[in-house]
Symmetry: C2
């Protein structure tokens, strides 16, 4: 039993965390903080939170666990604010898609203010956003990555870990740097590449004609280019260093393929495509990860 939960940013992620912890009997009270009163009102009506609160010392201090689920661009700032308000028994975690920026922001605080903060990233999402899209099973069988530092309190890590496990998630720990590199490679870079293709075609004089002949391959490749522009701007900037590293490696790889096309290197192209196909097929056929 965790006790009192404070959710800062009661949307899809924050709302689903509250629903899951309540269903698991882990929380006695859920308080929500957010920018839009109507959204908090909806959260109360939906039974996601018990009441709306304010981001002040009394509220934060009295919470046993705080989930910060604000947009990525606001997380570092809120993380510092909440860590500074936390009481001795308050454990804080966040749900941002990038972790280095959170760790960096917290590094400016005295060690006692940041030892109860466990940066985290639940790998879950849905087509929709907002508290009305919240679901009790959003995290079930999904992975949550925690990136505690050397001076993070092990008791705080254990509490955050058990909260996510109570939501049905599997929890893994790694460094923030490792997290950001992994997700730059398998998520942030693909988004940038997909946005780039659609932007390039959309800005052409004959864009509508080009799109007219786009079919299934284009549909799959560009599905992520319909993602929220502000969210992905924030992620690209928050994970700038790792994203640039991955992008540069990709550009070198692409330049290599370009040379093979230009040189009509049939064997090189077949080998490269075959490496990709073999890896992609193996990935899609992998057994579901054990929890």
């Amino acid at each position: 039993m965790i006790g009192r939960l404070l959710v800062v940013g009661v949307g899809l992620i924050g709302g689903s965390f509250a629903l899951a912890l309540r269903a698991a009997g882990q929380v006695s009270e859920v308080i929500g903080v957010g920018r839009r009163p109507e959204s908090l009102q909806a959260a109360v009506e939906l039974g996601v939170i018990d009441r709306a609160g304010r981001l002040d010392r009394a509220t934060v201090e009295s919470a046993n666990i705080v989930l910060l689920a604000a947009p990525v661009g606001d997380i570092a700032r809120h993380a510092v604010e909440i860590a500074a308000l936390a009481g001795p028994d308050t454990v804080v975690t966040d749900a941002g898609s990038t972790k280095g920026n959170v760790v960096e922001a917290l590094a400016g605080l005295p060690p006692e203010a940041r030892r109860g903060f466990v940066p985290g990233h639940p790998i879950a999402g849905a087509e929709s956003s907002g508290v009305r899209a919240a679901r009790v099973d959003l995290f079930r069988d999904h992975t949550v990555v925690l990136t505690p530092g050397a001076d993070t309190d092990p008791v705080a890590v254990a509490r955050v870990q058990s909260a996510w496990m109570a939501c049905g998630a599997r929890v893994v720990s790694m460094t923030a740097e490792d997290h950001d590199r992994l997700f730059a490679a398998v998520s942030h870079l693909p988004h940038l590449l997909s946005f780039a293709l659609v932007e390039e075609l959309a800005l052409r004089g004959d864009a509508s004609r080009l799109f007219e002949y786009a079919a299934g391959g284009f549909r799959d490749f560009t599905r992520i280019a319909a993602s929220d522009p502000e969210m992905w701007r924030d992620i690209a900037l928050a994970n700038r260093a790792a994203l640039l590293t991955e992008l540069d490696l990709y550009q070198v790889r692409l330049a290599g393929l370009r040379a093979m096309v230009a040189d009509a290197d049939a064997e090189g192209l077949r080998a490269a495509f075959d490496t990709a196909r073999t890896a992609r097929v193996a990935w899609s056929q992998r057994p579901p990860r054990s929890r």
Copy 2:
């Protein structure tokens, strides 16, 4: 009524064309030519073709329409071979994903040998390949692009057009150059970009760990990286010039986004991603094209 159909390469595309024309009552006899006797035998058993034939003068000459549906890498060679064997009433078309290479190969023939050849590209496919995957409705409501030249016989164009319409397809005509540019942009380039990402990650020492954290966005973006390596090698080489042009434009666009990330140009990134998102959403919501 078209008469006798000769299908060269009785797989998914060639087989579906035969099934659709037969169902439409357009053909009196269907002859199949292919490399693998067991596949032709299966085509006979499935009722896709009436009999297997050989690619000789008597067979080609007696056909009223020939569909060349061989792999892209073999099409140019076969096109020349078939055009040279065609009789005065034989109309020939092909189903290759690239058209400039076919037109270029035919350009070496005397005008009378190429006037009955109408290069084509049915925009249809399926997860599976081979004659067992052939379906009578594969082309229904799909687009077929024809790229006749200035000296192509209008009677031949009309016959090919009516054959595809009998399959339920809509038919559009454009130049081979225009076709290759369009498909380089919306199909061939995305495949190259997707192969490049998966190849890059697959060759890393920690590939399996990277793939472990790949989720839905990665799945969509890389679905086409599971495509047939030989087919896409052939397409990349057959459409080399247009693909390189599109790839270079893309690299410039990507370098622009890279600079925005490096410069933390939040407004530039938001605008770029927004352009892409708006275009992608509009594309996915477009009304189905009227036939």
